[in-house]
């Protein structure tokens, strides 16, 4: 199993470790609830080094990325990142990624579970183009600092002015020969940053963020468990749940990251899907009671299946059982009543607008 450069740090804090996409990762340190609440009220450190980091050099990089990404990259400025999907010809989602434009190169961050698949896809589509594709995942570390205190914390500890960055912009620099790149982005619904640093440097950086073993400081480590419950409240899609090869970006409710005026792999299929109209949509659901809708549970109406759950949890912020799922378009109006088939029981639920949680600005 692969280990991130923060692996020994997790183990030394007694984290509960799990296999995640081939990586030995912390699911929690003290408890998912405490880590979730701490992120919403202070700041948390997340190890996201398992995610793929791919560097692109060469004159044809932008053309290659535009060919494989759903987003219009034409006006991307140096210092700017864009969230996009990489899709098959039929629109099926291969991955969701963030591409960032540096002065002389681009960087793509992709999901850990899709890194090999995406690298193969990129190599296939770079044939005939002047591009060098370099997988930097194992040579670098990536961590996120998320929460209302995150930005001021990063500014005060590292002296990097991230507070003036707009969301999805980044700043890069070098300290003692160590290159860093800090992005104003994240996956929790809170303000915060994500940073890429050399693998060998990350152990030196951590004490600036997390003190006292992380149990009592302003910034505490949080695991993949809290990352998942946080992203669900914020209705951010997760590959393998809301996003799969069986669904296109429009049906997955992520049409905001698609520009059908440009040509990319999957654009023709999505134009056709749009012309016919979406047959299913991603919705938010609130369940009555305390049972939780899990991935794959059927959504029913008058005894007939009308959809499928993609993710669900007990919202620790709202104290409600929440879920996302794909539902036949005719039932997607907020307020519509449906039932969730839990196996031996059914739970009444109603369609609600997404996201479940929005931070105060």
């Amino acid at each position: 199993m692969l280990q991130t450069p923060l692996h020994d740090f997790h183990v030394s804090l007694g984290a509960k470790m799990v296999d995640f996409a081939g990586w030995h990762m912390p699911v929690y340190y003290r408890g998912i609830t405490e880590e979730h609440v701490h992120t919403r009220t202070n700041a948390s450190l997340f190890d996201v080094s398992h995610m793929g980091r791919i560097r692109f050099d060469g004159p044809d990089v932008q053309a290659l990325l535009q060919h494989v990404c759903t987003r219009n990259l034409k006006d991307t400025a140096v210092g700017q990142s864009k969230y996009a999907h990489v899709c098959r010809e039929d629109g099926g989602i291969l991955d969701d990624v963030i591409v960032s434009r540096h002065a002389g190169h681009w960087v793509m961050v992709c999901n850990a579970s899709n890194r090999e698949k995406i690298l193969a896809w990129l190599h296939r589509h770079s044939a005939g183009r002047k591009t060098d594709i370099l997988d930097q995942t194992l040579d670098t570390a990536m961590f996120a600092v998320q929460g209302p205190a995150a930005v001021s914390l990063v500014e005060s500890r590292f002296g990097v002015p991230v507070g003036s960055l707009k969301r999805y912009w980044f700043v890069e620099g070098s300290v003692l020969g160590m290159d860093y790149c800090i992005y104003r982005s994240g996956y929790t619904g809170e303000d915060g940053v994500e940073a890429i640093v050399p693998a060998a440097a990350v152990a030196m950086i951590l004490p600036y963020l997390v003190s006292d073993g992380g149990a009592s400081g302003e910034c505490r480590p949080a695991g993949l468990g809290a990352r998942d419950t946080l992203r669900m409240e914020a209705a951010m899609p997760l590959y393998g749940h809301e996003l799969t090869e069986d669904v296109d970006t429009l049906s997955a409710g992520q049409g905001w990251c698609v520009d059908l005026s440009v040509d990319f792999v999957g654009a023709a299929a999505m134009r056709a899907i749009k012309a016919v109209g979406l047959r299913k949509k991603l919705v938010g659901l609130e369940l009555e009671g305390k049972r939780i809708a899990r991935q794959g549970y059927p959504i029913v109406r008058d005894g007939a299946p009308v959809g499928t759950i993609t993710s669900g949890t007990m919202s620790l912020t709202l104290d409600k059982s929440i879920a996302m799922g794909f539902l036949a378009t005719e039932w997607t109006e907020p307020g519509t009543h449906v039932s969730i088939d839990l196996g031996r029981k059914e739970a009444p639920a109603r369609v609600v607008p997404l996201p479940f949680y929005r931070r105060a600005k």
Partner: protein
């Protein structure tokens, strides 16, 4: 991990402890740690018939849903009402305060096949889920 020796265990992580003519049932610390923060324990009403090898309730955590399996057939004699308002007790004290149900067994033969504490500890160490 300290595993009480005064009871027996199913491979699916439920424990069964004799108490007079009843069997007290709960889940192990290993199971609670694997499930992560428990948010709800769905228990049957007192008087409900349970069947050996069949589920009699379900546990919800922020990450997963797990069934509660009975090792014996019988009827539910008592449920732990404290879990309704404090499901987190299962994470904190699964072997004692967070017992789940007491079953009046019709027949105790299902208990013979259960693991003792040492066997259950090896079962957990082998990474069984």
């Amino acid at each position: 991990m300290k595993i009480p020796t005064d009871r027996k265990y199913l491979a699916t992580h439920e424990w069964f402890k004799p108490e007079g003519d009843l069997l007290v049932v709960g889940i192990s610390q290993f199971a609670a740690d694997e499930l992560t923060d428990i948010t709800f324990v769905d228990l049957p009403a007192v008087g409900t018939k349970v069947q050996a090898g069949k589920a009699f309730g379900e546990i919800e955590s922020v990450k997963a849903t797990a069934e509660l399996i009975s090792a014996v057939s019988g009827a539910v004699a008592e449920i732990n009402a404290a879990l309704a308002d404090a499901p987190e007790l299962v994470n904190g004290d699964p072997f004692h305060k967070a017992w789940m149900v007491k079953i009046k067994p019709g027949d105790r033969s299902g208990l013979d096949a259960l693991m003792d504490a040492a066997a259950y500890e090896s079962h957990c160490a082998a990474g069984a889920h």
